[in-house]
């Protein structure tokens, strides 16, 4: 066996930190500090929901430590997932969201393309107008909208109020302006020469959109899709106003109206329902996160 001798008498190298690296170290420390603070702040509510969902009603009302589960049970989950009512809410939400996303994309992608690229009279004003529409809060819009659908029902005999599909007409008032706005920004970041090249290659406007712009702007498209889905899925005010019958309710409203009976709050099931309701967007985010980030930061640098 040969021995390896390590010369410890050699000159010890002093690592000199320049001001740059010292700055960086401190910047990182502060970043972590705030990130941890933020993580605690934003993760505490879901954690509390999870803990509560695993408790029985008796344990919830008992004066024990609310942050600890002494007798864990899946009773709340079993009860909700076997309840036809809850599954009905879930399906209503799913249908509404999927159809709204489809409608939104079918409207906002061509709209954004037209506003961003086909320079026509008033296109710039219209683009700003689209954004301004988004700024009008839904709490202002729901009364006139309700009136509109009620009057429409009176005139035509087609009753849309208190039908789940009325939401298909209402949600796009929120999703279309924002998604159009996102897509305008995204399309605008695509070099003009790209559509000129396509036009010279013989593509029509429609082919330029479907074969060049949509594939190139896919991250933006996915970001807009996720946004539209999240808005539709989590919308509370409109379904609360427009739907009342239990079989027409979507998840957020359904949980509140059926699990709160008078002044009796079924906390365990409410929390379970909220957690289950949060699952689909969470799963979608997890899969499409990279695209979502890429979409939101697009145009920041010229690729």
């Amino acid at each position: 066996m040969s021995t390896v001798t390590i010369d410890k008498s050699g000159p010890t190298r002093k690592v000199k930190y320049g001001s740059m690296s010292r700055d960086r170290t401190w910047a990182l420390r502060w970043s972590y500090f705030f990130l941890i603070l933020f993580a605690i702040f934003s993760l505490t509510p879901p954690l509390y929901m999870l803990i509560t969902s695993l408790k029985s009603s008796a344990e919830i009302s008992a004066a024990t430590n609310p942050w600890w589960v002494y007798h864990p049970t899946l009773g709340n989950y079993v009860e909700l997932l076997t309840s036809n009512q809850f599954l009905r809410f879930f399906w209503n939400s799913a249908w509404v969201s999927i159809i709204v996303v489809t409608i939104t994309m079918l409207i906002s992608v061509p709209a954004a393309f037209a506003l961003a690229r086909m320079k026509f009279w008033g296109s710039a004003t219209l683009a700003t107008g689209v954004f301004l529409t988004y700024l009008i809060p839904d709490s202002l819009l729901f009364i006139p909208l309700f009136k509109m659908f009620a009057v429409f029902g009176d005139w035509t005999g087609i009753q849309l109020v208190n039908r789940w599909y009325v939401l298909l007409f209402i949600y796009p008032t929120l999703t279309v302006p924002f998604c159009t706005w996102i897509m305008i920004g995204y399309f605008a970041s695509i070099p003009k020469e790209l559509d000129e090249a396509a036009i010279i290659d013989g593509a029509s406007w429609f082919q330029t959109l479907t074969r060049i712009f949509i594939p190139v702007a896919l991250p933006g498209l996915i970001a807009a899709t996720i946004f539209a889905f999240t808005v539709s899925w989590a919308q509370f005010l409109y379904p609360l106003v427009f739907t009342t019958s239990t079989d027409q309710l979507v998840l957020p409203v359904g949980i509140i109206t059926t699990l709160i009976k008078g002044d009796v709050f079924n906390w365990g099931q409410i929390m379970t329902g909220a957690l289950l309701g949060a699952a689909p967007p969470l799963i979608i985010y997890a899969f499409l996160m990279d695209y979502y980030i890429a979409g939101l930061t697009a145009g920041a640098t010229k690729g």
């Binding site: 070099p191 020469e193 790209l194 000129e196 090249a197 396509a198 036009i199 010279i200 290659d201 013989g202 593509a203 029509s204 082919q207 074969r211 060049i212 594939p215 190139v216 896919l218 690729g303």
Partner: protein
């Protein structure tokens, strides 16, 4: 393939006239370069030929047909852009075949055209790559390939080499020339680089302020510029201009630059300028290669003079020398062994056989 004609073509943006009535005839197979400074209207002219800009007035004809209202896709043209404009989500082959696929060409035809173009441009190995995996030069080759496979009537190039580094630019310049020698498609090429214009063109169109200053072969423009703008724009370093006037001394015609400096014109030049007014304000235009170190033996038309050099720029095969004459900076090209040094005097000579006289007011070359 086809010829291209522009008749009194005007482009107005609101109040601004970007192109002010251009007449231009480009023959079949010809390689024409539009050159000029930024904002001279050259790119606008090209884009009007492509159909990407509407024309405000006049006619554009391709192959004898007026195409004013014909959309770009029906003009049978192909364009190469400055930033390549490759479709980022398609492979090289897909990029090149996009136009053919839109026109529903048979697959075998598409494949053979793409293969042929790729071979011509030496990008066969890159055919399955995406644009982001290519270097600038390779991207520009693909952009050219996309134009070639379409086999169009006219190629349009919009400053295609501006995004490349100097070395690659020279290489691609030769590449473009080779391609044109092979396919012989009528080509209109826009650049602000006069070297590119000179080296590539059959004919160069020099533009300024939305008008054509001069049309001619590279040599014509260099040796017989029509205006001061052309004279100064073509050639690098640029032509020198010194205020001067003509005077008769002892039956000979002199060009007087300063109180102390006047040159006798050689007979051929004297005959040409004899009729000019002696009181006109003139400019002597002389290219740097015609200001050189003085030779030991007198030669006809080559007049020696002394100058104190401001700056010298050794280029290796020659040294550029700069000195001031009557407030004008003059550049000369001397032999590297002539002993030119910053701040020191040097005996130089001017070759008046190659001089130009310009009207200082109108800028016209006389």
């Amino acid at each position: 393939m086809a010829d291209v004609s522009l008749r009194k073509v005007v482009k107005r943006y609101d109040e601004v006239e970007a192109v002010r009535g251009i007449d231009l005839d480009i023959a079949d197979h010809e390689f024409v370069v539009l050159v000029g400074p930024s904002g001279c209207g050259k790119s606008t002219t090209l884009r009007m030929i492509a159909g990407l800009e509407d024309i405000s007035d006049g006619d554009i004809m391709i192959g004898g047909d007026v195409v004013n209202d014909v959309p770009p896709k029906d003009r049978d043209i192909a364009m190469v852009f400055q930033n390549y404009a490759l479709y980022p989500h398609m492979t090289v082959a897909e990029n090149m075949s996009f136009g053919l696929r839109l026109k529903h060409y048979p697959k075998a035809e598409i494949t053979s055209r793409v293969t042929e173009a790729a071979r011509m441009l030496d990008i066969t190995d890159l055919i399955d790559r995406k644009p982001k995996q290519l270097s600038g030069g390779q991207r520009q080759r693909v952009a050219m390939g996309r134009a070639i496979v379409r086999n169009p009537k006219v190629f349009l190039f919009d400053e295609p080499l501006s995004n490349l580094d100097a070395k690659l630019r020279v290489q691609m310049r030769i590449e473009i020339k080779k391609v044109h020698q092979k396919v012989r498609t009528t080509t209109v090429y826009v650049t602000h680089d006069q070297v590119e214009a000179m080296t590539l063109a059959d004919r160069v169109v020099v533009m300024n302020h939305g008008r054509i200053e001069q049309i001619g072969t590279p040599n014509e423009l260099y040796h017989k510029p029509a205006t001061r703008f052309v004279a100064s724009f073509i050639g690098s370093p640029a032509m020198n201009f010194v205020p001067c006037r003509l005077e008769d001394v002892g039956g000979k015609l002199n060009v007087r630059l300063t109180d102390r400096l006047a040159f006798t014109l050689p007979p051929a030049r004297a005959a040409r300028y004899q009729a000019l007014s002696r009181t006109d304000k003139l400019l002597l235009g002389i290219r740097p290669e015609h200001v050189m170190e003085a030779r030991p033996h007198a030669e006809p038309g080559i007049e020696p003079f002394d100058a104190v050099l401001d700056v010298t720029e050794p280029m290796g095969m020659e040294t550029l020398v700069y000195f001031t004459l009557e407030g004008s900076q003059i550049c000369g090209r001397v032999n590297p062994n002539a002993g030119a040094q910053d701040g020191s005097p040097l005996r130089l000579a001017v070759d008046l056989n190659n001089m130009h006289l310009l009207n200082e007011v109108t800028g016209a070359v006389l």
